[in-house]
């Protein structure tokens, strides 16, 4: 192996890569916020007593968990305009696709967290006369969040990395810029290595922080 590394291309490529990173982070944050809102609704729907609500919600979850995110992205990007007859800007269409994907995962995590709250806590709240909203707000959710937050964080870190899929749709994120620069400079190894490092430098501290938080929350419980 005698590859002639030429790292000098990196400093010139870096501003463009960071420009791409900005979009990657924007997409990630927007999708986390929308995904959480959707996830809360999904969890509520999944826990609903009526089969007319919980069955369709379960079907949605299984569909988005059982198909590749790339397929979902491409489908919503290319097919939705034809099916619905409306043209979405590419940013909007990928946000919709990723939100639907993440909402399914967030929703299941929130549901699991709520159901992990011990039954006697719910019973104690019931016999103290709390209504549904107060029971959720003061008793169930504060305890569920300790279980949910680490899971949501690690799923958000996965999302941050999975946003690289949008580069296949011509959205100028970090991965897209890295591909363009690779062909422009004929130095794919250096550029892609740099892109990987950028992803890692952001994701790794978040992973460590999540793990620390998880330990702290576990200790705080009981």
């Amino acid at each position: 192996m005698s590859y002639d590394w030429a790292w000098r291309v990196v400093p010139r490529a870096l501003p463009v890569l960071l420009e791409g990173l900005r979009l990657t982070i924007t997409i990630t944050l927007v999708v986390i916020v929308l995904g959480l809102l959707l996830g809360i609704l999904v969890a509520a729907g999944r826990l609903a007593r009526s089969p007319f609500i919980n069955k369709p919600v379960a079907a949605y979850i299984e569909f988005f968990r059982g198909t590749p995110a790339l397929v979902q992205l491409v489908w919503i990007y290319y097919c939705l305009p034809i099916v619905l007859g409306l043209e979405l800007p590419s940013f909007a269409s990928i946000v919709v696709a990723l939100t639907l994907n993440v909402g399914a995962f967030f929703g299941e995590s929130i549901r699991a967290g709520i159901q992990a709250v011990p039954r006697d806590q719910v019973e104690a709240a019931d016999i103290l006369g709390f209504g549904y909203v107060d029971k959720m707000r003061f008793v169930v959710l504060p305890q569920a969040f300790r279980i949910i937050i680490p899971v949501i964080l690690s799923q958000s870190i996965s999302l941050f990395k999975d946003t690289s899929l949008v580069s296949t749709l011509g959205v100028a994120d970090l991965m897209y810029q890295a591909r363009v620069l690779s062909t422009q400079t004929y130095r794919p190894l250096e550029i892609l290595t740099t892109a990987a490092m950028i992803y890692f430098l952001l994701a790794f501290p978040c992973t460590v922080a999540t793990r620390m938080l998880e330990l702290r929350l576990a200790r705080a419980r009981h």
Partner: protein, 253 residues
Amino acid sequence: MISVRRLSKRFGTLEVLRDVSLEVRQGQAVVIIGPSGSGKSTLLRCLIGLETPESGEVHVDGRPFIKRTDRDRGPLRRTREFCAIQRSMGMVFQQFSLFPHLTVLQNVALAPMRVLGLREDEAQARARALLAKVGLADKALQHPEKLSGGQKQRASIARALALEPRIMLFDEVTSALDPELIHEVLSVMKQLAADGMTMVVVTHEMGFAHKVADTVIFMDGGSILEQGPPSQIFGAPKEPRTKAFLDKVLTHI
């Protein structure tokens, strides 16, 4: 005060309660004893609407609380009336069931605020008075995890009393405690009984049953086999199964 008529409850094919009927009068302390699996706890949980019986009725203060026939399906409906009657009863569980994310004071003050609509300072004043009554004035700002088992159980009694219930149900509240902590919980309960609180107590503490109960009920196999004043149940049980049970539990002393 509480009137139970022909209550039956199954878990799958297991009959946990068979046609149980029971009257609890105002100011009475009723103690239910019996071997494990005899249906004592299930009866208590049915009384307060935590379990859905297959059939039977529960009336509280003359108001119909639960009325089920074999045709009824699904869990009990939490109507406004149901919830109002339910919270006129307080219940304390074996495993404390305090809210771990709240301080002891918040545990006691939360329901008066959210359910009775008291102002925060009123609810806290009530909570502090109750905590003082159960001997936990100095633990008000601690979280439950910092408390001993006996303290947790007294806090949970204070929480139940905060809604000023007319009836208190105690479900094996000393069974999870270290022996040296049992008496501090029992003495709070004795005080309540002396104050005239209507109580239904499921317990294995025969000494407590003997001293505090107005009526002792012996349950076995999902039925009430015998009931009467403690002197009669402990002194001259009529049923051979009552006698056999008491022989087993009392020989340790």
